[in-house]
Subunit: 370 residues, 3 copies
């Protein structure tokens, strides 16, 4: 999957250099306009039902509900008449009815009825947004609707496949999606921020390479014959062994980061697997430039019915991701409130994958604005 | 009272149209500069006493107290010396004494004494505002003092007359006075926002006309031979009958909206009235462009000593007006925080009275700045 | 210490006049840029230890700790790599280690080690600030480091001398350091704001003169043969006598105000002093233009081991200074939120010392900006 011509050796000490912010203008940061032409997760699929709910997405209030046949609908949460929040109304049949004057909107946004008048003009409508279910998640397109091709929704087959079992959780975080991506594709912080879960000392020395594929960035690491990290080794009951370990982390889109880890037990006990596979899925959607909605999944390919493993994976994942959440919120607070002049953002060789993703995000954001 | 030439038939379906915001610039909204040349309620009369109180009115902090003879006084709540809030001082005789350096102000705002110096210069004074009591309310003029004619204070005789009995209440609301006026003169939202109190289904079909009188706007409605709404029928004990009903609602000034309802019992029982009258008074004063102080009264002309009716009227009014409060606060939150581009404010025929009032408010606001 | 040529008679009633704000532009106020070329208190000396602490000073987040040899270190609380707050890291040896990627900073700010790379570039560093201990306090210089001469740290010998005993306390206040200085050098507010502690009626009539010495301003007052104020008379057990009293209050620097009071008992009882001396020290540091960190000390030269006197002095000082805190916070709130046009800041003869200090602060602030 990695093309040699693109691969960057990440421990080359000659690469690091101070990167002045003026040159760094080509990298997205918290102040870059949000990318709208992208499928983002708007809700867990089971959150969207016949009772309307609202959520702020990319600075816009959105109201969501399902029709009688189960199709999800997303509308601007603002009646075009007098700005009443439509989530305070009710669903009748397939229509969303405003709670102020009873204006009724079809799933396509057209106003079909206003009780106080006999005929409703043709231009009476509310903005709608393309929305679609995929597996346990519901996705929304907040950009140009002409570009909203459902084939662009990232494929996350392990979330729907019976061969994989997942635990899940989420956070509402005061950070920006750029910092979140940069944090997820960077694994050199593991020993410092996550010493108790994923940050084993040996892993810091694992080889690493990075590459791009279109608008995706991925890193690959490999570490042979070393103790597994607790989060993967304990549920597999192989903490007493040395194992081989591979890991791919991928900036999939502005909305999604995934990781795929495999633990190879070269001397498996009878009736036990020789490979343990994990997929980690991070979906997050800007609420604003400084806050995000975040849903994560940790999926495995063995002992799917073992609820003790479920509990362990849920607790260990929550702990590790909360360490990221705390760190990113501390950083956002510094960035937004500290007034000391800041001339440089220092970057080093291991920051290259994150900077590659930030360059892609910057290009996407700028190209939308023409 | 309605001149035929001004009356607008409100159910003419040909009138409604989308009204682009650029043309709509002639209608006041939450961002229009506040109208200052107007008598506004600053307090219930019994709130203003010998102990100074302060309240923010039209973005200005005002301190109020009474002289020994009972005259109300209103001053800027900011000592001109070092900006100490005068409400933290005390009243001595007729003077308000600053709590920081003991500067003493007469009711006309002149500084009469400063303990640390022997003579006070003639220009040492604090700004005062015209203020006057009327019935249960105290009124203030925050605009050009040369225009503060007390004859302009709206007449609300039912609040002081022994032939009327009132219940009262109030709210501090995060909305704007323009939306409040538009909500009060609009009765087509009754069945949706107030189904339990004033919103009977039959009333939705009542005839309606609107007119202007100088800077006032009023609507008239009539409905014959129908059940009365609970808020008027229950206290009169006529819920089992069909009655005739008339209603006038009036945009009196930027500070006041009134309504007058009459229920006609064409077949009264012996010793019972054939007409039940109600006056509803809504006084509200901008604290800022996005918050208001609100006092309401519900007055009736029968069984004035019946405290059970008082309790019923107070509870039912509080419930109905709180439904408006909630709705207007939701709308204000949408208007102030949602960042989605909003090209149109759609309006329909029944919105005409509100738009007429908003046009008057816009003209008044602009003429002050001319 | 006062040169006659500079002394201003403060009760000259001819001096007072309204001072329009445009002319008053030469006096610092809450909006004047903060003076950075000055030694400010950053912490009590015992607050700075091996566990890093952070504090916002002049709009900049600063992290502080001590080296193994006990030297205080102050750094910008923001890793130059990805803005992680360094206070969330840990001290190892003499270095501060970032908690995100393990970047290690020497006390001079240079990055000595980054685990993910073999060599760290020479320009990898974090900003440091000159810092020094003096007596019970630690001082910082947030301005041009080339001007950070430790000889400029104000001398407060009574805080370190065995001949003086002190009680101390502090507040975090929503006010500005200009208002704080003006309040401290002004004693005409004592009878109004502090009637229970320092504000005796006779003291209002005490003679007063003011003078400047370089960038310092001081006032001198004397009152003979009058009862002492409770805060000085009670601990000395001389409330039953008339005494002579002198007082000097001094604007020492933008960071410090001191006062020196002496009570003369002309007929002392055997074995009791004939003079009771007090030094009051007010150190405060802008957190921002609208908030300050404030440390105070009340020192005396008699019965240093008497803990009852300690308790009395601590309680009485806390009460008096809290009255100032409340008043200054009320004023700040008025100044920041009231929108009424304010044409004049009225000043009077007794305001001259405060205006002299504000003129110095304005000149210092402007000269830094060249």
């Amino acid at each position: 999957m990695i093309h040699a011509s693109q691969a960057i050796p990440l421990n080359d000490e000659a690469i690091f250099d101070a990167m002045p912010m003026e040159e760094g203008g080509q990298f997205a940061n918290h102040a870059t306009p949000l990318i709208r032409n992208c499928w983002y997760v708007c809700a867990r699929r089971d959150e969207v039902g016949r009772q309307p709910i609202s959520r702020r997405l990319l600075d816009t209030d959105v109201v969501m509900y399902r029709t009688q046949s189960g199709q999800p609908v997303a509308m601007h949460n603002r009646c075009p008449h007098r700005a009443f929040p439509l989530v305070k109304g009710r669903v009748e049949g397939d229509r969303l009815v405003c709670g102020y004057h009873g204006m009724e909107f079809e799933p396509d946004g057209l106003c079909a009825h206003l009780p106080a008048v006999s005929h409703v003009p043709a231009n009476a409508c509310v903005q709608t947004y393309p929305i679609a279910d995929r597996g346990p998640l519901t996705w929304i397109w907040m950009g140009d609707p002409n570009l909203a091709d459902e084939a662009l929704i990232p494929e996350l087959p392990w979330l729907a496949s019976p061969e994989w079992g997942s635990v899940t959780g989420g956070f509402h975080i005061k950070t920006d999606y750029v910092s979140m991506h940069e944090n997820l594709i960077d694994q050199t912080h593991f020993p410092f921020l996550h010493p108790g879960t994923v940050g084993t000392p040996e892993y810091a020395r694992a080889s690493m390479s990075a590459a791009t594929e279109g608008n995706q960035v991925m890193i690959n690491r490999r570490l042979d014959n070393a103790p597994p990290p607790g989060i993967y080794g304990k549920p597999a009951d192989i903490m007493h062994k040395n194992v081989d370990r591979t890991s791919e982390a991928r900036f999939v889109s502005p909305a999604v980061h995934t990781a795929h880890a495999q633990i190879f037990d070269n001397y498996p006990e009878p009736s036990k697997p020789s490979v343990y596979g994990y997929y980690i899925t991070h979906c997050f959607t800007p609420e604003s430039n400084h806050s995000i909605h975040y849903w994560w999944f940790n999926s495995r390919d063995y002992r799917l019915d073992d609820t003790d493993i479920d509990d362990f994976m849920r607790d260990a994942s929550t702990q590790a991701y909360y360490e990221d959440v705390e760190a990113l919120e501390w950083i956002m607070d510094v960035v937004l409130t500290d007034k000391e002049a800041q001339q440089f953002e220092l970057s080093f060789a291991p920051d290259k994958p994150g900077l590659m993703a930030r360059r892609i995000m910057h290009r996407l954001a700028m190209s939308e604005r023409g």
